[in-house]
C-alpha cells in the first residue's frame, strides 16, 4: 500500500488532535466510512467541512431526518412529474432519465472528482436505515432500477457519518466503519478553540467566562450541559453587548445562551441558592 496518500491534520479554523487525525487518516487509507460520535456541539459536522477544506475536495451533505429512507440518498424517480407531463405531452416522457434525480450519495458517486460525503445525524432515521446503506457504502456503486444505468464512484468518496448516539447503530454497519468519539475539549484546548473564533477577546473576559462555563458544566443536575458551540455563542453575545466581567451568580448575563432547558435554569438557580457545596 502506498504511503504517500493525502493526510489530514486540521485546518486554520478547525483544531484537531492526534486521535482525531489518526481516525481520519485511517478512514482515508482504508477507504472506509468514518463514524464520528460525541456530545452535541463538539464539532462533528464541522469536521466534514474541515476535511473537505484541508483535502480540497467538494463537500456533499446529506442531512438525515426521521423520514429519510436509504433510497433517497441514491436517487429519486419522480413518477408524479412524469405522469403529469404525460398528460400535456410537452416534454419527452419516454426518457426516464429525465425524471431521475440523484440523491446526495448518488451525486458523490457520480462526481468527476473525489468528494467528501457527509451523512449527518444518521441516528435520526429509522433503525434499519444504516443497514440499507451497507451494500452501497461497501461497493460505492448502485444501479438505477428504472434505467439500468449503473452509478459507480470513479474515486471512492470520503464518507463521514455523524451520530448523536441517540440510537444504537447495527453491528454490521459499525464493523465497516472507522470510529471516532469526540471528547469534550479540555480547558486548554477549549481556550484555543475560543481563540480561533474570537481572536481579539480580552484575556480577563476569556478567563472568567471559561471558569464560569466549566463550573456550570460541572453542575450535577443539568439535563443538557452546555457545550462548545454554546460557549462560543455566549462569548459572542457577551462581546456584542459590551460586558467586561462575568461572575457566577444569580444574574449571570445571557444565561439563556448556555442553558436551554427550563428545568436546567431552575436547577441552576437552585444550586446557586442552596447547594454551594459544589463551589470551592
Amino acid at each position: 500500500m502506498s504511503t504517500n496518500f493525502v493526510r489530514f491534520s486540521g485546518t486554520d479554523t478547525y483544531l484537531s488532535n492526534e486521535s482525531l487525525e489518526a481516525a481520519v487518516n485511517c478512514a482515508l487509507v482504508l477507504e472506509r466510512p468514518l463514524l464520528v460520535r460525541g456530545e452535541p456541539g463538539t464539532g462533528k459536522t464541522l469536521l466534514a467541512e474541515a476535511v473537505a477544506e484541508a483535502l480540497k475536495m467538494p463537500l456533499i451533505r446529506w442531512n438525515v431526518k426521521s423520514t429519510t429512507r436509504a433510497q433517497d440518498g441514491l436517487y429519486v424517480y419522480d413518477t408524479v412529474q412524469r405522469l403529469y407531463d404525460s398528460r400535456f405531452q410537452d416534454k419527452d416522457v419516454s426518457d426516464i432519465e429525465n425524471y431521475i434525480e440523484l440523491g446526495p450519495m448518488g451525486k458523490s458517486f457520480d462526481a468527476e472528482e473525489r468528494s467528501v460525503l457527509l451523512i449527518d445525524e444518521i441516528d435520526k432515521a429509522d433503525v434499519e436505515f444504516p443497514n440499507d446503506l451497507l451494500n452501497e457504502l461497501d461497493r460505492m456503486r448502485f444501479v438505477i432500477d428504472e434505467t439500468q444505468r449503473e452509478v459507480a464512484a470513479k474515486d471512492r468518496p470520503f464518507v463521514l457519518i455523524t451520530s448523536n448516539a441517540e440510537k444504537e447503530l447495527p453491528d454490521a454497519f459499525l464493523r465497516r466503519c472507522v470510529f471516532h468519539f469526540i471528547d469534550f475539549p479540555t480547558p486548554e484546548l477549549m481556550e484555543q478553540i475560543v481563540h480561533v473564533h474570537h481572536p481579539e477577546l480580552e484575556a480577563n473576559l476569556l478567563k472568567q467566562s471559561m471558569e464560569t462555563f466549566y463550573e456550570i458544566r460541572s453542575m450535577k443536575r443539568l439535563r443538557k450541559r452546555p457545550s462548545t458551540s454554546e460557549l462560543i455563542d455566549w462569548i459572542a453575545v457577551l462581546k456584542a453587548s459590551g460586558v467586561h466581567d462575568v461572575q457566577l451568580d444569580g444574574n449571570l448575563p445571557f444565561l439563556g445562551a448556555l442553558l436551554k432547558k427550563e428545568q436546567d435554569l431552575a436547577a441552576f438557580a437552585d444550586q446557586l441558592a442552596g447547594g454551594r457545596r459544589w463551589r470551592s
Binding site: 504511503t3 487518516n25 478512514a27 441517540e166 459499525l174 472507522v178
Partner: protein, 394 residues
C-alpha cells in the same frame, strides 16, 4: 503482542474479529501509527472500537498488554542515555562537522538511527562498546527527543501519552453495563416496536396509486391501504418495597420510560411485593388487586411480560404454599414459584429484569427464579438484550 491484544479485547467482550485485525494491519503497513506506541493507540482505537461504550474496555486492555512495554522501552531508553553520557565523557570532543550534521538530521533519519541503535544495543551486551566512538553518539542524545516527538502527529502541545490517556480511564462514563437514564431506557424499549397494517383502509397509498394509474393508461386509479399501527402489548410487573427500596429510583426511571413509550398498543403495569402470589396490584400501595388467574384470562399469550424485581426473599416465601406475607383468604394457596411458573408458561415471551448486580445471582432465591424466567440485569446492556429476547418469535 498484537494478537494477545486482540484476544484481551475479546475477553472484555469488545467485538473484534478478523476484519478489524486486517484493517489494523493495513493501517500499520501504511505507517499511520508513525512508529510509536501512542500512534498505535490512536490508530488501533479508531479501527478496533466501534462504540464509545467500549472505549473504557479498550483503555484497560491496552494498559494490560502494553504497560509493561512502556516500562521496557523506558528502561531501554535509560540504558541508552547512560550509555550516551558515558560515551560523551569518554569522547568529549565533537567536531563542528558532526554538530552540523546533527542539526540537519530530519526526524525520519533520526528515528531510523534510533532504531538501529536499539538493535545495536543488543550488540552492546555481546560485543562491548568499542563502536561507541564511531559516528552517531550524539544523535542518541537527540534520539530520546525524537522518540517523544514521534508521538505527536501534527505539532506541539496536543496530546498526552497513550499510556497516560488509557490510564486516566476517561471513558469509564460511557460504559453501558452501568446504570441508565430514562431516555436511554426509552431507546432500549423502542426495540419492542412492531407494526402491522390492520383495520380499515383509510390511508392513501401514493406509490400504489401512481402505479395503478400508470397501468390504467393514465386514468386515475386510487389505491388505499390500512395505516401502520403499533402492535406490541406489554405487561410490566414491578416488585416494590422491602429489599427493592435501594433500587426505587432506578425502577421509577424504567417505569417512566415505559410509560412514555408511545409505540405500544397496550401497556399494563402491576405491582407485587417480594413474589407474585394469587394477585397483583394496580397501585404501588397495593390497592385495586387483580387476580392473576383473571389477568391470564384477559391477556393472551401474545402479550410480552416484563417482570422487574430483585428476586431476593426468604426461601420459604418462594417455596412454601401460602408463603405470602399478605394473607389471602380467598386466594388459591400455591407456592410463589408455582405462580411464577404459571406466568412464564402462559406468555410466549417473558423476561425478568434484576437490578441486583449479576455477581450476587448465585446461591439464593435469584438462582431459583432465574431457572424459571430468562433473567437479565437491569443495565442498559441487559435491557437491550432482554428486549431483543422479547422480540424473538417463538
Amino acid at each position: 503482542m498484537f494478537v494477545p491484544f486482540l484476544y484481551e479485547l475479546r475477553a472484555r467482550e469488545v467485538p473484534v474479529g478478523a476484519t478489524e485485525a486486517v484493517n489494523l494491519a493495513k493501517a500499520l503497513e501504511a505507517g499511520l501509527h508513525e512508529q510509536s506506541l501512542d500512534g498505535f493507540y490512536h490508530v488501533a482505537r479508531s479501527i478496533l472500537i466501534h462504540s464509545e461504550r467500549h472505549l473504557d474496555d479498550f483503555d484497560q486492555a491496552f494498559l494490560k498488554v502494553f504497560r509493561g512495554v512502556e516500562v521496557e522501552a523506558k528502561k531501554l531508553k535509560d540504558e541508552l542515555f547512560d550509555w550516551v553520557k558515558d560515551a560523551r565523557e569518554n569522547l568529549p570532543e565533537l567536531t563542528d562537522e558532526e554538530r552540523a550534521m546533527l542539526e540537519e538530521l530530519d526526524p525520519e533519519t533520526l528515528e531510523r538511527m534510533f532504531q538501529e541503535r536499539m538493535d545495536e544495543q543488543k550488540g552492546k551486551h555481546r560485543g562491548g562498546n568499542h563502536w561507541i566512538g564511531t559516528e552517531g553518539t550524539s544523535p542518541f542524545g537527540n534520539s530520546g527527543k525524537v522518540a517523544r516527538q514521534g508521538i505527536r502527529v501534527g505539532g506541539a502541545g496536543k496530546g498526552r501519552s497513550a499510556i497516560k490517556t488509557a490510564d486516566a480511564r476517561l471513558y469509564a462514563g460511557y460504559r453501558q453495563d452501568l446504570t441508565l437514564d430514562v431516555r436511554q431506557m426509552q431507546l432500549a424499549l423502542r426495540k419492542l416496536r412492531t407494526f402491522v397494517r390492520t383495520g380499515g383502509e383509510e390511508e392513501l397509498d401514493l406509490e400504489g396509486t401512481i402505479e395503478a394509474t400508470a397501468k390504467n393508461a393514465g386514468e386515475l386509479e386510487v389505491v388505499v391501504r390500512p395505516p401502520r399501527r403499533p402492535n406490541t402489548r406489554v405487561i410490566l410487573m414491578m416488585d416494590v418495597g422491602g429489599s427493592m427500596d435501594p433500587f426505587a429510583h432506578l425502577c421509577s426511571r424504567l417505569f417512566s420510560a415505559t410509560k412514555k413509550s408511545t409505540h405500544f398498543k397496550e401497556l399494563r403495569t402491576y405491582y407485587f411485593h417480594n413474589c407474585v402470589y394469587g394477585r397483583v396490584y394496580e397501585t404501588e400501595r397495593f390497592t385495586d388487586p387483580i387476580r392473576v388467574q383473571d389477568l391470564l384470562h384477559e391477556c393472551g399469550p401474545h402479550y410480552k411480560l416484563i417482570v422487574v424485581g430483585d428476586a431476593l426473599m426468604a426461601p420459604y416465601e418462594l417455596m412454601s404454599a401460602g408463603g405470602s406475607i399478605h394473607w389471602e383468604s380467598d386466594g388459591e394457596r400455591a407456592e410463589g414459584i408455582v405462580w411464577l411458573m404459571r406466568l412464564q408458561k402462559h406468555f410466549r415471551r417473558s423476561v425478568w429484569l434484576n437490578p441486583e448486580p449479576q455477581k450476587y445471582w448465585l446461591g439464593n432465591t435469584i438462582e431459583n427464579i432465574a431457572s424459571v424466567f430468562d433473567m437479565f440485569p437491569l443495565t442498559l446492556d441487559g435491557l437491550g438484550e432482554s428486549m431483543t429476547h422479547l422480540m424473538k418469535s417463538k
